[in-house]
Symmetry: C2
Subunit: 591 residues, 2 copies
């Protein structure tokens, strides 16, 4: 068999050659006694012409053909007449004069047109995913995804990382998100868990002397799904021994630069900017700020603490903050009603209210303007660099509420006002995350990253006195406001790991039962090691310019974790449950 | 940070340079006032010398060091004195004169020595897998596995295959092996199943116009485990549209040749030999024959059907077969007791007995010799090409029993007698498998390959009249007596797929419920497609020259599907089961 020829790759250079093409019929037109077919394959479209003066058999077949029929066509590549050249498609200067055509398979009329513009609900697209995937935009996305994976792999392989596979049937550990469980038939009443990440295994590979590991691996979380979560997701997982943090971060930057270059031909500047967690929260109210636009959070606590506006003053006095956003030049475009909507928006993030001021002819305007004398007004204008036409928005509250609400408001306004330069790819490291977070419900510390993260050397003393203030040797990589990955130095000594489990409220027995094998491993010459994990689905989403993870996954689940095509999950045979020594306790209510 | 320097890569070219090394202490020797340490990393060993006349601090540290300590060493590469050159290791001409050493982590005495020769049970190795993985032979295996995966990927990527990921949380289908189930929390009483292979999804990717797909993917089977099975295994999964069988097989051959060349530097001849299933069974009694040695099964049914030995004659008369192995030159080495053991061995495969003859001075010898007159004796000798000193072994039975028992006996004798040239890699295609197999227990046909396999065009008529004789467009790839992969042309028309489910005893409702989405997909322009899947673990096993799949998997399960390191599977919290609306019905018996 000769090399496959693709429809979309035929150019004027092929004129005069005979080709055999395979593909789908995009559309058929009957015009001036001729039949025209646009034939589509993975590479694009080409026009096929059937002339009754040519092969009558082919012409007769062509009369039967409808959209999405699969055909094999043999014919000659010829130049189009100048007046019918189509500049919109790559093959628009040529067409195929058919010698023979063979229908490989027919097609019912598809439930939607196989075009990028098809107007169709996501539900129907997911049910007929095999048709949805034929649309050129989907073909492009999966080609991109393939190229991203390939670029990651080649970068790491060139640096002597070994791809090593870790188990999917794991032990369940209660720490972290909810596990998907797999009942064991051989061990009745016992369960495997699907991995939330290969974290412990990759650390054990380091203890096992593998030194440089990578894997593009499926991970699982049984969470209530949000728009940007899937029950199974793909992670680029990396771990290295004997590597210093700076060298590692530099390598990861180089990797991202290389991937973007490979798949988009764009040169991103290496040496990504860095923010500490504290700074990111202060300036953007977020640990994954979108730095494609400014409009940072401005702390005016000191400016307003002695002002006449009691709400501000007393907030500062009681340990709170007052911060502002300066929405440049937008005063005229925000009515009271608009601002009420913004207020409601910030309240979802816990803010009690949203104060505002407009600057007109050098003066503060708005309901709270009267509380500020001229000195205070000047100070506010100076602190916010506000000038005529600007809209100032304020939240006065506990630092967390200020950050959450103004951070979210900043993101919303950035989008609403078109402040974001969509052509940019802004990578950013956020460093020095807190080691621990206080869980109000459980009344204990939980690991901010995971329980195997090393504290920063200079904070270790505070583990005993003030654990909440200890920073971790952990960092996230942020791209355009999305967290696309994170990593840390790991604990490689047993004493530290034990201390960490104590801080997290584990009894010695519980720590031993859950993680005894890891702690034992740390006693046998565990090397210093660290690593990172990157969310492949999310990286594809951003680089493809789509807004939903489902667009990046060939067969995704819906928000309630179902597959609309196969109808998974589904009931199973009683026999299967019996073999697993399980009974379903749920009774559907009789209506 | 400068580029990492590896212990095992230092040669005489590095003499005079200063290096920083990281690794594990293989052993320490104190000799003539000096301390010697063999330092090991992923690449190999190098000798480090501590001289008390040099750095006293380093010497003092060295005195504390024990096996498997992790250290960082700085020093100078120097030539060894000629009389202490060690030709056994790659770095035996040099050593490191230490300037400083830093202990990164200590180690308890490991439960076994970190050497290839360590005498240790597999149980202990699996419990301390992180130590086992440090042994050089394991490091080599995982480097090989990495290189095999890499070679597969690059071959396919260079031919424009897209790597596309398919779901792990699937729908359970009762056809085939037992599924691992995953209870759904959101849909109480419903379950996902882990995939036994991505078969249906890869076919739907072809319907979706992806044209060339590959994935190195985890698959799962909840089977009672044998020595060469694991509950999770890795498959190289491939599917293509618009490809003729011969072109596809040629590409797969080229891929295997390339992989062997990449990872072993060996040139295997392309155009692998082919046997039909019928021929493989006839000549080797196996559908995965080891062709590294001869000793084929010889059909002497015609020769003995009129002989005086009633057992043979009546077997042939009633539709059975008589076949022989000629064990060349081994007559003198097999006593009656030895042959009794072989008889017992064949009985495990269903044979009622094993008849035998020896050739001495041109005469048949043995208990059954008397039944053959001179003509019959000559005919047997001619049919088996037997000469003096040969041992002939016979099974007379139904064809399946003859094939199973003599096939197994041939394999056993091949190993026992050292007939196998271990340096060879004998690839072989076995083609024209039966489409269906009769399941005695279920009293119905089951798919020999899977229910989506296309029958051979010339046999389609027989689907209605004699389904058992229909051959499939299916083939296996065999390497050194192991099935390492298989593939087929798939059904791409709904009518055929429906007919196949009928043959397999599915009611229309059952077929619709389980596979309705696939049959619907075949109605919307499904292209002709086919593909293959290869067992990565098994390929690694053969190319690494190890005899057990567990040696090729970083963290394998035992024969009862447990992980001895993490103790998975394990009981889970009641709360987890409640969330899943499940109860365990198994009660441990009180002793």
């Amino acid at each position: 068999m000769s090399e496959r020829v693709y429809c979309g790759q035929l150019t004027e250079q092929a004129i005069g050659t005979k080709v055999t093409l395979n593909g789908w019929v995009q559309r058929r037109r009957d015009l001036g006694g001729l039949i025209f077919i646009d034939l589509r394959d993975r590479s694009g479209l080409v026009q096929i012409v059937f002339d009754p003066e040519g092969s009558t058999e082919a012409f007769a077949t062509a009369e039967k053909i409808r959209s999405e029929y699969v055909v094999e066509v043999k014919g000659e590549v010829v130049a189009r007449d100048a007046n019918v050249v189509n500049e919109k498609i790559a093959t628009g200067h040529i067409e195929i004069r058919v010698e023979s055509i063979y229908i490989l398979n027919g097609s019912k009329t598809p439930p939607f047109a196989i075009t990028n513009e098809a107007e169709v609900s996501e539900e129907v697209r997911l049910k007929y995913r095999y048709l949805d995937l034929r649309r050129p935009v989907m073909q492009e996305t999966f080609k991109l995804r393939h190229n991203i994976n390939k670029a990651f792999r080649r970068f790491l392989e060139d640096r002597e990382f070994y791809e090593i596979e870790t188990p999917i049937l794991n032990k369940s550990t209660p720490e972290g998100a909810r596990d998907y469980l797999v009942p064991s038939r051989v061990h009745p009443g016992e369960f495997y868990a699907l991995p939330q990440s290969p974290q412990i295994f990759k650390q054990l590979l380091m203890v096992g002397g593998m030194e440089k590991y990578y894997q593009i691996v499926r991970c699982f979380r049984d969470e209530d799904l949000r728009a940007d979560r899937q029950p199974e997701f793909t992670q680029l997982d990396i771990e290295v021994s004997f590597f210093e943090r700076e060298a590692f971060l530099a390598m990861m930057e180089e990797m991202m630069v290389e991937v973007v270059d490979q798949v988009r031909g764009e040169k991103v500047a290496p040496s990504f900017p860095r923010l500490t967690y504290a700074e990111a929260m202060a300036r953007y109210g977020s640990d994954k700020p979108d730095t494609r636009f400014g409009m940072e959070l401005l702390d005016i606590s000191a400016t307003v603490k002695d002002s006449g506006f009691k709400v501000f003053a007393s907030t500062v006095e009681t340990g709170g903050q007052v911060k502002a956003l300066n929405v440049k030049g937008q005063a005229a475009h925000y009515s009271r009603k608009n601002i009420d909507e913004l207020t409601e928006f910030t309240q979802r993030y816990g803010a009690k209210g949203l104060a505002w001021l407009k600057i007109e002819a050098g003066e503060l305007k708005g309901p709270i303007a009267k509380f500020f004398d001229e000195t205070a007004a000047s100070a506010i204008k100076a602190a916010t660099e506000a000038t005529d036409g600007d809209l100032l928005l304020f939240v006065a509250d506990k630092p967390k509420v200020v950050a959450d609400s103004l951070g979210a408001l900043r993101s919303k306004l950035g989008k609403d006002l078109g402040l974001i330069d969509e052509s940019q790819l802004n990578f950013l490291w956020v460093t020095d995350f807190p080691l621990l977070a206080w869980d109000e419900d459980e009344e204990r510390y939980v690991a901010e990253h995971h329980p195997f993260t090393m504290p920063k050397a200079e904070d270790i003393e505070k583990l005993k006195t003030d654990p909440g203030s200890v920073r971790a040797e952990a960092y996230d990589l942020v791209l355009n406001g999305y967290e696309i990955g994170g990593g840390s130095q790991r604990i490689h000594k047993r004493e530290f790991q034990e201390q960490m489990f104590q801080l997290l409220g584990f009894s010695q027995e519980a720590a031993e039962e859950q993680f005894g094998f890891l702690m034992e491993a740390l006693e046998y010459g565990a090397p210093p090691h660290g690593g990172a994990a990157f969310g492949v689905d999310r990286i594809v989403m951003i680089l493809a310019g789509v807004s939903n993870l489902r667009e990046t996954i060939a067969f995704p689940k819906t928000a309630n974790a179902s597959c609309l095509m196969t109808q998974a999950p589904s009931p199973v045979d009683t026999k299967q449950l019996e073999e697993l020594s399980l009974a379903v306790t749920y009774q559907e209510e009789v209506l």
